[in-house]
Amino acid sequence: MKDARAIELETLDSGYRFEYSATASLESEPDKYKRADRPASSFTDGLDSDGRRHVGVGDNVIKKSQTVSGPVALVSTIEQVMEFLTDGIPPGTIAVIDDSGGTLTAPIIEGFAGVICLGGTVRSHLGILAREYDVPTLMNCKINDLKNGDMVELEVTAAPPAADAYETGDTGHARIWLIENEG
């Protein structure tokens, strides 16, 4: 135990700070971790011919007959989930979640009209649950910066990735458009 602590102490004394994955880690030992949120993967902006701005791509979990649109809500903390639990989720909300796990949003996932997940694959736990709950969802998304309230449209009419897509790299075929910016 003492040796293990000494190894970590030596690393921290050198000025190094660790990357975190769970918010509980950052909150319990803030001096040990970098407080850097996951950077949004830059995506080439472009106006479509119909005036929508193409702001991202992802992997579609369930092929639908129509696209889905709605205002964005960024969800990444326990406190936000607790607020949604207490106050409810405004109808039509599309969640932007930077966690492909299924537990952070466990009590509220069914209430979203759509999900943009900034990680994982269609086989991640969140992808599995999206399929079971029939919530239109794009996984493994690369997006420009989106803010709470931005109106987006998800191309959930796109074909889901092939079984070997994550080995071949043939991913990211479902598009995300910005319809209306909160400014």
């Binding site: 509980a24 537990t103 990680g119 694959t121």
Partner: protein
């Protein structure tokens, strides 16, 4: 203790290498899991070490009470938590990955703990051979990613008794919503890992239909201390939902018990559903709400409501945990994947399975999120730990590179005694979680652990007693219609709505048609 000789070591190393190849394939082709709520990678590493230090002793005790191949028979007949992902793959894999960690740190040589490795893998191999007896393979991977455990007599009951549905009817809606809720709750109760869910099959149900078995385990008060007071209105700890799909080919059912289908899994293609329970005390599958479609829809809706509330209750409890509590809980979920062997044998003790061993606690300060992620990624994805290399001429099964996830046992141990045979069998441990104080939810009601063990000791399901145990599918093929075969089939047909007492002489054409075809017994549509 292990019987060390050339034959047993050859078998051990063969099984180990197959596990190594399969685990690598699973890790690179399925999905990397992350969680903002749980520090998953640190807890996984802690769990592997906990498995390494504790599992050999626990399995020896279980094996002495109920041999591993008998436990495989038990798991083959009904849905138990000692299943594909937990017992068949996870238990030996977690143990061996813990060994790799210690080798990487220079604290263990490949010759050390050799008796432990041989015993764990011997137990696991015997379990798997019996578990997979009906398809004759050792793993799903060896069978081409298929998973067909059940005998004809069980499948005939399902085909006859499942209730037909059409998309949008009450039962179809109730079933799909319950499966979603069960999946959600199982992920949460198991700290974001998938081991509370299990899928098996597919089974050919004729007319371009396939049936898969969807199991959900540890849903109520039981082994997990954090489940005390949660979902107390749910009368059962495990639920199995067989689902029949039309026009869907489940072409992959892997050793993590997850599936791929072509076209994709689509609730609109569900044609029939049912619900059953089983646990270490049940004699076969017990129908749940199966009297008619309305009763089944009622039951599913009620369970969904209970689990919906339980999800919120449990989430709030977990959201207040400290980081260490999250790590301990997650690690214990993983390292206890073999715990239901102890339930079956009647040797279960809470502290055996739900403490982090003191020898593991030593390493916790290393387990920050980044180290956890990178150590795990190198060990099971990149296979880049120096000791995982093999000679430059070798090409591994899936990667084509000269590296293997798991390290074999050198045969030199047969002539050289410079090794420690075991990690030892004295336990002391602790946990940051509140102690378990609740009861155990079983098919025999909510009981304490002494009563659970007492009931389990000496219990043998009727289809596995001395006169029936070896009457397998091959035997049935040559003996159907005999009094002995009829008796075997009637044991499985007990409680069946449509097949009770019908015996062994039935083919698919003789079975009662499903509700869909009959147009009767419909739920509200």
């Amino acid at each position: 203790m292990a019987n060390l000789n050339y034959r047993s070591l050859l078998e051990t190393n063969n099984y180990l290498r197959n596990l190594s190849d399969t685990t690598y394939w699973l890790c690179i082709t399925r999905t990397v899991q992350e969680s903002k709520l749980f520090p998953m990678n640190p807890y996984m590493l802690v769990s592997y070490l906990n498995s390494f230090y504790r599992l050999p002793t626990l399995l020896r005790e279980i094996d002495a009470a109920t041999p591993a191949e008998e436990l495989g028979d038990r798991a083959r007949e009904v849905s138990l938590k000692v299943d594909t992902v937990n017992a068949a793959w996870g238990m030996p894999a977690f143990y061996l990955i813990g060994r790799e960690m210690l080798m990487n740190w220079g604290l263990l040589r490949p010759t050390d703990a050799v008796d432990d490795v041989v015993d764990v893998l011997d137990f696991s191999r015997r379990f798997n051979l019996a578990y997979h007896r009906n398809d004759g393979h050792l793993t799903n991977k060896e069978f081409g990613d298929r998973s067909q455990f059940l005998p004809e007599r069980t499948l005939q009951v399902f085909e006859s008794d499942l209730h037909g549905v059409v998309p949008g009817d009450r039962l179809h809606t109730a079933a799909t919503k319950l499966v979603a809720q069960l999946s959600q709750f199982a992920f949460l109760a198991h700290c974001e890992c998938r081991i509370g869910l299990h899928n098996s099959g597919p089974y050919d149900f004729g007319n371009n239909r396939q049936m898969i078995m969807r199991d959900f385990f540890d849903l109520a008060e039981g082994d997990y201390p954090w489940m005390d007071g949660i979902a107390t209105q749910l009368p059962l700890n495990n639920l199995t939902i067989p689902i029949v799909f039309k026009d869907t080919n489940f072409h992959l059912m892997d050793d993590w018990a997850s599936f791929e289908a072509e076209p994709g899994y689509n609730a609109a293609n569900i044609e029939a559903v049912g619900m059953y329970t089983s646990d270490p005390l049940t004699d076969g599958y017990i129908p749940v709400g199966m009297d008619n479609a309305d009763t089944l829809a009622d039951t599913m809706e009620q369970y969904r409501e209970i689990l919906n509330e339980a999800t919120t209750d449990l989430w709030k409890r977990i959201a207040n945990w400290s980081r260490e509590q999250m790590i301990d809980a997650g690690a214990l979920v993983y390292s206890s994947v073999g715990k239901d062997f102890a339930h079956l044998a009647g040797t279960y003790r809470q502290d055996d399975w739900f403490q982090i061993d003191e020898r593991v606690q030593r390493f916790k300060p290393l387990m920050n999120d980044e180290y956890g992620r990178d150590n795990l990624g190198e060990m099971v994805g990149l296979l880049s730990l120096p000791h995982q290399k093999s000679n430059e001429y070798t090409m591994a099964r899936y990667s084509g590179m000269n590296q293997n996830m798991l390290t074999g046992i050198p045969y030199s141990v047969l002539t050289d005694d410079d090794y420690a045979p075991t990690a030892g069998d004295q336990f002391s441990g602790s946990s940051s979680l509140p102690e378990k104080s609740g009861l155990w939810t079983t098919s025999a009601g909510r009981i304490d652990i002494d009563e659970y063990n007492r009931r389990a000791q000496g219990f043998v399901p009727a289809v596995l007693d001395g006169t029936h145990r070896y009457l397998d599918e091959e035997w049935v093929k040559w003996n159907h219609g005999t009094a002995q075969a009829d008796e075997l089939y009637r044991l499985t047909q007990r409680g069946s709505r449509n097949l009770e007492g019908r015996g062994s002489g039935l083919r698919r054409a003789d079975l009662p048609t499903t509700d869909t075809a009959k147009g009767s017994d419909d739920a509200d549509r």
